[in-house]
C-alpha cells in the first residue's frame, strides 16, 4: 500500500518534465562551472601566484568559501536532524529541500580546500603521512564523515519516494525508469519497512546532530588553534557554529521560496513554514549578535597590543566598511525585516535571507583576512594587503553555480518535497502522519 498524500500530483509535477527553460538554465550554470574549472586548471599549471594571495595573506577567498559552504551545509542537518529529535513535525515538507542544500554545498566546501592547495595531486599524503595533531586533518576527517553520513541520511529518506516514482512515472524515459528501479532497492511500502526506516533515521539524527556541532567547530579551529591575534579565542568555535546555522537556515528560506514559485508548490510549501523559520531566524540573529558583542568586548576591554591592531583595523581601519556593512547585512537590516515585515510575507523574508547570506560570507572574510594582514610581526613587516584576483572570482562564482546546478537538476528527477513524510496516511502508522496545518499569521 502506497502512502496517501493529497499533494502527490503537485509534488510529482516538476519531476515529470524537463523544459527548455531548464536546459537553458543548466547550460548557463554549467558554463559558469566550466569557467571555474578552467581557472583552476590555469592555476594548477601556473601556480597559486595567479591569485591575489601573498605574504602575509596566505589564505584568501578559497578558505572563505570553504568556511561559508560548510556553514551553508548546516541547514539540512539542522532542519532534518536537530528538529527531528526535538519532535518539530512542522518541518516535514521542507526536510528534503534543506538536506539537498547540505548535500550540494558540501562538495564545494570540501573542494575549496583542495583548490587552495599548492599541490592538490598530493592529497593522498593526508592518508599516508597524516599527523592528527593538525587541525587540517581534523577538518578532513570531520568533513568527509559529514559528507558520507549526509549522503546516507539523504538517500535513506529518499527511498520510499523513489519507489513512488518507479510506480507512478511509467511514462518517463527508459533510463530514468531503470534508475528509479535500481535506486528504490525493491521498496514495496510495507509497514515493516516504514517502521524500520523511521528507526534508522531517528538513530542517525542523533549521530548527525553530534557531527554537525563538531564539523563547524573544527572548521573554526583551523584558525583558533594558532596563536594569531583575532583568531586565538575559545569563542571562535561556537561563533562559527551559530553563524553556520544562521546562514544555513536563511538559505532554506531562499530555496523554499524559489521552489514554491517555480514548481508551483504553494500549497505544500505553505506560508506557515516561512513563519516558523522566521522565528528560528530571529533567535539565531540575536544569538549571533550576542556572540559578536561577547567576542569583541572581551578583546577591546582587555586591549592587548597585537589584538587591538586587528580590532581597530576592523572597527575603524582598512576593513571598517566591510565590517560594519557585514553587521548591517547579517544583523541590522534582517532583524528589522524579520520582526516587522517578514510575517506572512515571502518576499521580505527572501530579501532579508539574501542579505544574511551575503553578510555571512563577508563575516567569514572579515574573520580571516584582517588577522593575516596584521600579523604579530606587523611592526617589522609592515601591514599586508589582499584583493582577490580573477581566478579566485571565477572559481567562487563557479562554486555557487555548481551548487545551483546540482540542485536544479536534482529537483527535475526526484521529488523535492518528501511524499511519504508529508503523507496523511502511512503504512504501518496507527495515526495519520502529522502534517502541520497551513497556519497563516501564527
Amino acid at each position: 500500500m502506497e502512502p496517501k498524500n493529497h499533494h502527490l500530483k503537485a509534488i510529482l509535477a516538476p519531476v515529470r518534465k524537463v523544459s527548455t527553460g531548464d536546459y537553458l538554465l543548466w547550460g548557463a550554470l554549467l558554463a559558469l562551472l566550466l569557467a571555474g574549472a578552467g581557472a583552476w586548471t590555469w592555476q594548477f599549471i601556473e601556480g597559486l601566484g595567479i591569485t591575489g594571495m601573498n605574504r602575509p595573506v596566505y589564505w584568501g577567498v578559497y578558505i572563505t568559501n570553504f568556511v561559508f559552504f560548510i556553514g551553508l551545509a548546516h541547514s539540512g542537518t539542522f532542519i532534518s536532524a536537530i528538529l527531528r529529535i526535538a519532535g518539530q513535525s512542522w518541518r516535514a515538507p521542507l526536510t528534503r529541500a534543506a538536506e539537498a542544500i547540505t548535500l550540494f554545498s558540501l562538495p564545494f566546501g570540501a573542494g575549496s580546500i583542495i583548490i587552495d592547495m599548492g599541490h592538490p595531486e598530493r592529497i593522498f599524503n593526508l592518508l599516508f603521512y597524516g599527523r592528527y595533531q593538525s587541525p587540517i586533518l581534523w577538518d578532513v576527517t570531520a568533513v568527509s564523515l559529514y559528507m558520507l553520513s549526509s549522503i546516507v541520511f539523504f538517500y535513506l529518506s529518499l527511498i520510499p519516494d523513489i519507489a513512488l516514482c518507479r510506480d507512478r512515472l511509467t511514462d518517463a524515459p527508459r533510463w530514468q525508469r531503470r534508475m528509479y528501479e535500481l535506486l528504490a532497492l525493491g521498496w514495496n511500502h510495507s509497514p515493516e519497512q516504514y517502521q524500520r526506516l523511521e528507526k534508522v533515521l531517528d538513530g542517525m539524527a542523533v549521530f548527525m546532530t553530534m557531527l554537525v556541532v563538531t564539523v563547524h567547530t573544527v572548521v573554526s579551529w583551523l584558525f583558533g588553534m594558532t596563536v594569531q591575534p583575532g583568531w586565538h579565542t575559545a569563542l571562535i568555535g561556537p561563533f562559527f557554529l551559530l553563524g553556520a546555522i544562521l546562514s544555513g537556515t536563511a538559505a532554506v528560506v531562499i530555496v523554499l521560496a524559489l521552489l514554491r514559485k517555480v514548481y508551483k508548490l504553494e500549497k505544500v510549501l505553505h506560508l506557515g513554514l516561512f513563519n516558523s523559520l522566521r522565528k528560528l531566524l530571529i533567535t539565531f540573529v540575536l544569538g549571533w549578535l550576542y556572540m559578536m558583542i561577547a567576542e569583541h568586548l572581551t578583546i577591546g576591554y582587555s586591549s592587548m597590543t597585537e589584538e587591538m591592531v586587528v580590532l581597530t583595523d576592523k572597527f575603524s581601519g582598512t576593513y571598517a566598511t566591510i565590517f560594519w556593512g557585514m553587521a548591517a547585512l547579517v544583523f541590522g537590516i534582517p532583524l528589522l525585516v524579520f520582526l516587522f515585515k517578514g510575517r506572512n510575507n515571502v518576499g521580505w523574508m527572501v530579501f532579508a535571507c539574501v542579505l544574511v547570506n551575503l553578510g555571512m560570507w563577508l563575516e567569514r572574510y572579515i574573520v580571516i583576512i584582517p588577522t593575516e594582514v596584521s600579523p604579530r610581526m606587523l611592526t617589522v613587516m609592515g601591514q599586508g594587503s589582499y584583493l582577490p584576483a580573477l581566478p579566485e572570482i571565477l572559481i567562487t562564482v563557479a562554486c555557487f553555480a555548481g551548487m545551483a546546478l546540482l540542485y536544479a537538476v536534482f529537483t527535475r528527477f526526484f521529488p523535492i518535497v518528501p511524499i511519504w513524510e508529508t503523507a496523511q496516511e502511512l503504512p504501518g502508522h496507527a495515526h495519520a502522519a502529522q502534517v502541520s496545518p497551513a497556519v497563516t499569521g501564527d
Partner: protein
C-alpha cells in the same frame, strides 16, 4: 647530539644585508622580481627587518636580522597535516619538499613569518643560473611548496663528511651557516646550545640576551643580544 642555536648581537649588526645575500646564493632562493616583491612574494630565508619604535623626533630604529628561529616547540610542526615539516634530532626544523601539499597552514601559524611559499615555479636570470649551489639539499624547490631557512643543513653534512675524510671526530665548531660565516660585523654566533662551554651557550645566558615573542612559548633557538 648537538642542539644548534644562533645568537645575533644587535650592537654589532649594521644592517649591511650581506647575510641575506649569502643566504640567497647558498640556498638557491629565486629572485622574485620587482612586481612580485611588491606583492610581498619575495623569498628571503634570512631578512634584515627595520624595527621602528616611536614617532619623530623620538624615534628608535633597530635593524633585526631574522632567520628561522628553529623553535624547540614550533607552531609550524604541530599544524602540518602530512608531517612534511619536522624537527630533526639536532633541533633543526626542516621541510620535506616532496611531501608538502601546499596548504600553507604552517605559514599562517608561524608567528615569526619565516616560512615562504612558492607562488610560481622558481626562475633565475641566465647569469645567476650558472652560479646555483649544486648541493642536493638546496635544489630549486617546485612551485606550490613551502620553504624556509634550514641553518644550511647542507653545510652541516659537508662538515661531517670532511671530518670523516680527515679521520677526526666532528666538532660543533666545524660548521656554521652561510649567514654566520659572511657576517661583516661578526654579529652572528653559531654553535651547540647544549654545550655549556660553547660561545653561543654563554652568550645565550648573557643578561643582554632575549628571544622574540618569548611569551608564546615557542622556545626559539635564535637569541638576540639587546642593543645599547
Amino acid at each position: 647530539m648537538p642542539r644548534w642555536g644562533m645568537v645575533i648581537d644587535l650592537d654589532k649588526c649594521f644592517a649591511c644585508q650581506s647575510c641575506t645575500a649569502a643566504c640567497r646564493m647558498e640556498n638557491n632562493t629565486p629572485p622574485a622580481g620587482k612586481d612580485q616583491a611588491g606583492m610581498g612574494r619575495a623569498i628571503l630565508w634570512n631578512e634584515v627587518l627595520p624595527f621602528v619604535e616611536g614617532e619623530y623626533p623620538n624615534v628608535k630604529a633597530t635593524m633585526l636580522p631574522r632567520p628561522c628561529m628553529h623553535c624547540d616547540n614550533p607552531a609550524c610542526i604541530k599544524v602540518c597535516p602530512v608531517q612534511a615539516t619536522y624537527k630533526n634530532e639536532e633541533g633543526l626544523v626542516l621541510v620535506d619538499y616532496d611531501r608538502c601539499i601546499g596548504c600553507r597552514m604552517c605559514t599562517v601559524a608561524c608567528p615569526y613569518a619565516v616560512r615562504y611559499f612558492n607562488w610560481f615555479a622558481p626562475e633565475w636570470p641566465e647569469d645567476l643560473k650558472a652560479h646555483l649551489n649544486p648541493e642536493p639539499e638546496v635544489q630549486p624547490r617546485p612551485k606550490g611548496v613551502v620553504e624556509k631557512c634550514t641553518f644550511c643543513v647542507q653545510r652541516l653534512r659537508k662538515a661531517r663528511e670532511t671530518a670523516e675524510a680527515e679521520g677526526r671526530t666532528f666538532q660543533a665548531t666545524d660548521y656554521v651557516p652561510a649567514c654566520v660565516q659572511t657576517c661583516t660585523g661578526h654579529a652572528r654566533y653559531f654553535g651547540d646550545l647544549d654545550d655549556p662551554d660553547s660561545l653561543v651557550s654563554k652568550l645565550a645566558h648573557s643578561p643582554r640576551a632575549f628571544r622574540m615573542f618569548e611569551e608564546l612559548g615557542t622556545q626559539p633557538k635564535v637569541f638576540y643580544l639587546k642593543q645599547g
